[in-house]
């Protein structure tokens, strides 16, 4: 990808907001992104909206809150990776020359979604009988068998993300004091060996990114570092022996490995060039596996790297710098765009207390149930 930049980003803080609507949160994120970009809504050529369980017409309706300019509005949906999928389509639309400026707006009220989905759940449906936590607990048990991983390693990842969230004013979870490994381990057992503090919360929220031609970024905000989108990958499951067809939340590990190889080739970078990484850490065991699948460390090395603090804010490569899904939250549609928000601020040097010094290259990884894997590489020009 050669001609795409993130022009602006905005968020409406994730949380349990029973009194806030998708339109309200979406407007806040959209206006924040326009202000950040230095654009008027009149300048936006097209919009891609991302929501999972909001009613069918929500995308185009929420966009009207920003003004009725007649622009094309398209909804993109890909489960947890919805925001990332909408972002990918917007980037390719700019890269291909179709549009100069595209707004990507993700929003969701997962609190409402949970109510809907349990009402609609037929207990006779084998696929619905097993919690997502159980699926990822199966990853953890297997990992513990193969690599002698301990619950303490998973707790260390979760504690790191909770504590990164304390430095991010947009994080859903704001722990009052430093979160320890012991505290994570002592929280309620959900699916052995995963505890509640090793899992992301449900929540509501919105996030927005505006992408456009690279030269526009320079013209709109002279003197501000330009954040380019260097690579974009979206892939679905590829069959191999051991493939699960009933009950998986996400597909086989190789989806992330293949995605990483593709984006590194597209961007002309390798894992050692990365300053910061955001992953789909809905559960701490996922982040552990993605360290290796993204090549941040060698196979079987994750536990030693965790013990050394390699993935802390001041470590070798900072992972889940904004708190990740575990702390910053995971409402659904906006989640992937929150990763773009964080990475863009970091690459501009605007991430406040959690700033990674001189960050130049960042990677954003999301899994969407079904399943898809979506990865982007962003780089300061």
């Amino acid at each position: 990808m050669k001609n795409v930049a993130v022009l602006g980003v905005g968020m409406s803080r994730f949380g349990m907001w029973p009194d806030r609507s998708n339109a309200d949160m979406g407007l806040e994120a959209g206006l924040a992104a326009l202000a950040d970009a230095g654009l008027s809504f009149r300048d936006v050529n097209a919009a891609y909206t991302g929501h999972i369980f909001a009613p069918a017409m929500s995308g185009v309706r929420v966009m009207k809150e920003l003004g009725c300019t007649g622009l094309p509005v398209q909804r993109i949906e890909n489960a947890s990776a919805t925001g990332s999928a909408a972002f990918a389509e917007a980037c390719w639309a700019v890269e291909s020359g179709r549009w100069d400026v595209v707004m990507v707006l993700g929003f969701d009220k997962m609190t409402a979604m949970i109510q809907q989905s349990t009402q609609g759940t037929d207990p006779a449906n084998l696929e619905d009988a097993i919690l997502p936590a159980a699926f990822f607990a199966l990853w953890a048990t297997r990992r513990m068998h193969e690599r002698r991983t301990k619950p303490e390693h998973l707790a260390a990842i979760a504690a790191k993300n909770w504590n990164n969230g304390r430095l991010n004013p947009m994080s859903q979870r704001q722990a009052e004091r430093e979160v320890t490994v012991e505290k994570v381990l002592a929280s309620k057992m959900v699916a052995w060996p995963l505890t509640a503090m090793m899992a992301c919360p449900i929540g509501d929220g919105a996030a927005c990114a505006i992408v456009g031609r690279k030269d526009l970024a320079r013209r709109l905000r002279p003197g501000r570092p330009v954040v380019e989108v260097k690579a974009s990958h979206l892939g679905s499951e590829k069959y191999e022996r051991g493939h699960l067809f009933v009950g998986p939340v996400v597909g086989p590990a190789r989806m992330t490995r293949d995605a990483a190889a593709d984006v590194y080739a597209q961007a002309g970078v390798g894992p050692t060039d990365l300053d910061l990484v955001q992953v789909h850490d809905a559960f701490a065991i996922e982040e552990l596996e993605y360290y290796e699948l993204l090549g941040l460390c060698g196979e079987g090395e994750a536990e030693a790297c965790i013990a050394r603090g390699d993935f802390a804010l001041d470590g070798r490569v900072a992972v889940s710098t904004d708190g990740g899904l575990i702390a910053r939250g995971h409402p659904g549609g906006p989640t992937g765009l929150a990763q773009i928000w964080e990475t863009t601020l970091q690459l501009r040097g605007e991430a406040g207390k959690r700033q990674r010094p001189n960050a130049r290259t960042g990677l954003c990884h999301m899994m969407g149930g079904g399943s898809v894997c979506i990865v982007h590489v962003l780089q300061r020009a």
Binding site: A129, I130, H145, V190, A191, L244
Partner: protein, 146 residues
Amino acid sequence: MPDAPRPRVPVKPGYFTIPDDPAAPPRLLGTRCEACGEHYFPRRKVCARPECLSTRTTDVELGPHGTLYSYTFVHFPLFGSMKVEHIGYGVGQVDLAEGPRVQLPLAGRQEEYRVGMPVVAELEPLREDAGRDVVIVRFRPAEGAR
């Protein structure tokens, strides 16, 4: 005289057999690709291997024996269950001898399981419905496994 066993119906049709003999284990309803020999659970019409994609597929019965690939015990009730013993339940991924990996509930307690052990499928009543037992398929440790 003991009560006659209630008739058994699957929680969802098309996934497993219910043998007439109450002592016989269920089998899983799967597919074999006649072009490349790959087996699948559940049933499908087209071979999923990117190198094959044949539509020459046949319905087969798989299991009931397999090897435990991974397991967990969940500290919440099994959806749709009215039985006290289902508050907290096991889930396992099992590699069937024919090749497919399946993810299904586990019987018993966490302490009875370890990765790599032989397991076997069984039917378990989930609830009663109009005089019939609604059953699920799950795995338990195979005889002699430890």
